[in-house]
Symmetry: none
Subunit: 404 residues, 2 copies
């Protein structure tokens, strides 16, 4: 048996339900690289996070393994204590979970991008001019009427040009090639089986794509769709069975809500999509759960845009809410990211992510500021993300002793 599977099984044996509360506060893409001599986090004025770091044990986290740049799926699996090398989550499943679609065990979920094609069928815009979510919803209604023998089809809007289609039937395989050629001026690709057992599924997908083309023809700029991220749901262990927790997730973006749902978290309703709305949801639901995953998207999107000043602003804004979180008096508060998104790279990266773990029973180190380099010298050292949950549970005193 794998060592990480062993560790996971051990946690399942040792975890116990207690009244103590854990908050896992995740700033997406938090880690950065120096611009004008300082990382985004170092540029930010964050008195509350610095003071928290001073009273915490700090470290840096490898989301998957040194050198590996994770997508959001593997990065969050790691944070949730599931080995990202063992479990894979496809884009289709992520999107479906994110819109609260009740996926069944054998479903095949696929991400749709509405696109624009010209008279020759060549792609002129892979995002259909980012149509509104309202138009998207109407198109999905029409696509929902497509009828293919032996499968049920559910087409659901996500946001702007993004939608999801779920096929329900027997032996639907995810081993299908994407139809998005990833370039302008090319024709959409035929969905092809990537293994023998996917041949029947590929025919269904192909049929769906050609029917969809007919349905969408009159709806320029969304006169075509591209299919990506064919995926069956992974069988992830839930927070309930593994950690005996009653977990809740607070996230504004569908994908992260989806990821949280896959491990059994209840997704809390938000009044809006501001950080303040997320903190309010935490406050209002604080008594109902013993674990909270809070996800902040702005640090990642600003990093992806290469806008380091905006990333600094998002971090500074988060800092202002730290006192409200501390007012709740959590037994464990962890602040970290799921991966780095340095603005100078405009993409996710492999660089480790700072982490602080605040708890009355943590061994406070002498880190005095919350930054990549300062945390690198902290008492946690350099740890893989899958070690975060055991550390959280331990500091919340939710783990029994192992062995006599």
């Amino acid at each position: 048996m794998q060592r990480d599977t062993q560790k996971h099984d051990l946690l399942k044996k040792l975890s116990k339900t207690t009244p103590s509360k854990i908050i896992l506060f995740v700033m997406d893409g938090l880690g950065g690289l120096p611009i004008e001599g300082k990382t985004e986090l170092e540029h930010a004025t964050i008195p509350n996070l610095d003071s928290l770091a001073k009273n915490s044990v700090c470290g840096v986290v490898d989301p998957v393994s040194p050198g590996i740049t994770p997508g959001s799926g593997p990065a969050h699996l790691g944070l949730f204590g599931c080995d990202p090398l063992q479990y894979e989550i496809g884009r289709g499943v992520l999107e479906a979970s994110g819109i609260n679609f009740p996926l069944e065990k054998d479903d095949l979920a696929v991400r749709i991008n509405f696109a624009t094609i010209d008279k020759e069928g060549k792609i002129t815009d892979r995002r259909a001019g980012r149509i509104s979510t309202e138009i998207n919803a109407k198109l999905c209604e029409e696509l929902n009427k497509i009828n293919i023998e032996s499968v049920k089809i559910f087409v659901k809007p996500v946001k702007e040009h993004r939608a999801v289609v779920v096929f329900r039937g027997k032996n639907l395989s995810e081993k299908i090639s994407e139809t998005d050629p990833q370039e302008i001026g090319a024709l959409p690709l035929e969905p092809k089986p990537l293994s023998k057992e996917a041949e029947a599924t590929a025919k269904i997908i192909s049929k769906f794509a050609s029917e969809a083309k007919k349905v969408l023809a009159p709806h320029h700029p969304a006169n075509m769709l591209l299919l990506r991220g064919f995926s069956n749901p992974p069988h992830l262990p839930s927070f309930q069975e593994t950690y005996h927790l009653n977990p809740a997730a607070i996230a504004t973006y569908p994908m992260y809500r989806g990821l949280a749902r896959l491990v059994g978290m209840k997704i809390l309703d938000l009044k809006g999509s501001d950080i303040e709305d997320e903190i309010k949801a935490l406050e209002e639901n604080y008594k109902n759960h013993d674990f909270f995953f809070i996800h902040i998207k702005g640090t990642d999107s600003s990093g992806e845009d290469g806008d380091w000043k905006r990333k600094v602003q998002v971090i500074e804004k988060v800092d202002k809410f730290i006192p409200r979180i501390l007012n709740l008096n959590p037994d464990v508060l962890i602040v970290t990211g799921d991966h780095s998104t340095p603005a100078i790279l405009k993409s996710h990266s492999w660089h480790p992510v700072p982490i602080l773990l605040y708890s009355p029973v943590c061994r406070v180190d002498d880190v005095t500021e919350f930054s990549e380099n300062a945390c690198g010298k902290g008492g946690l050292g350099r740890i893989p993300a899958i070690d975060i949950m055991p550390l959280a549970l331990a500091h919340a005193q939710k783990l029994e002793k192992y062995g006599a």
Copy 2:
């Protein structure tokens, strides 16, 4: 499947060929222990390496695992990203590869040490007075004539008293005990099968040893040979298939050339055996490859000799060539060792080895000198050697993102 195997498979999936270039500069046995209050590296005046460290991310490396002292084989496997606990390379295979012998899959390679025996057959010198390589070559020619049914025999000189014999045939097993008793005054040992399936092979080896004794009898001081390191070639994944690299190796010693060849590196010709010759080979071949392994032997041999001042000199000499390496403008330059060889121990040791990774996209830490203790506080933390290649590839931006 083992986690390290999974990581290796993952790299194979994520690696892509790009124009960026990686230099892995290895000072053999680099790590040391304090003498007169400072390690060899701390005694050395190395302005260029210190300045490089200042602009790099630093750390320390466990070649295999904390506490494990590696031989050259496992130590280099780790550097090359192959789990040294999974793959073993025998001494015979190392020697054969080092002299460019085209080993076949089922060959059995064995290291020969020419030795001196007295009239009673007892060993008086395990190195035959370190005979010249020329005499060695002549002896090998004679030994080559030995004829044993069912196997082909290739005897090749290596250097001084060291040679190699390769047996080619069916079902040749490496499970044979060595004939070197490792002490003066003892008789050479009989080669014994260490497992059932090695019985036939043991007979062949025994025959070879007794024939060789007859052939060598008139050639005092090399009037006997000792056989060690029975080994079949390991099936190592190559740099080409795993990392999609076009790698080259620059090393003066046969064993390291052999190790590099085993993972698919092209061995570059050298005009001489000085560090300067190695740097020239790098410069002259720089445009032809995207990965360079450079091996410096002097740090290890001086450490093994217990000559700490010579080790300091070698390090200082290396330092002078750093600007020439930097002139090539590599995308990633890593400077490290394969293991420690503290002069006060006169042997390899288990102590972690300092590493610096220099790249425009590394997260520079606040280490300001290249030494064991300074690097220990660096941003890389303490990593196993098999994490070096993923980090090199990541910083050269040769890895795709993992997962959606």
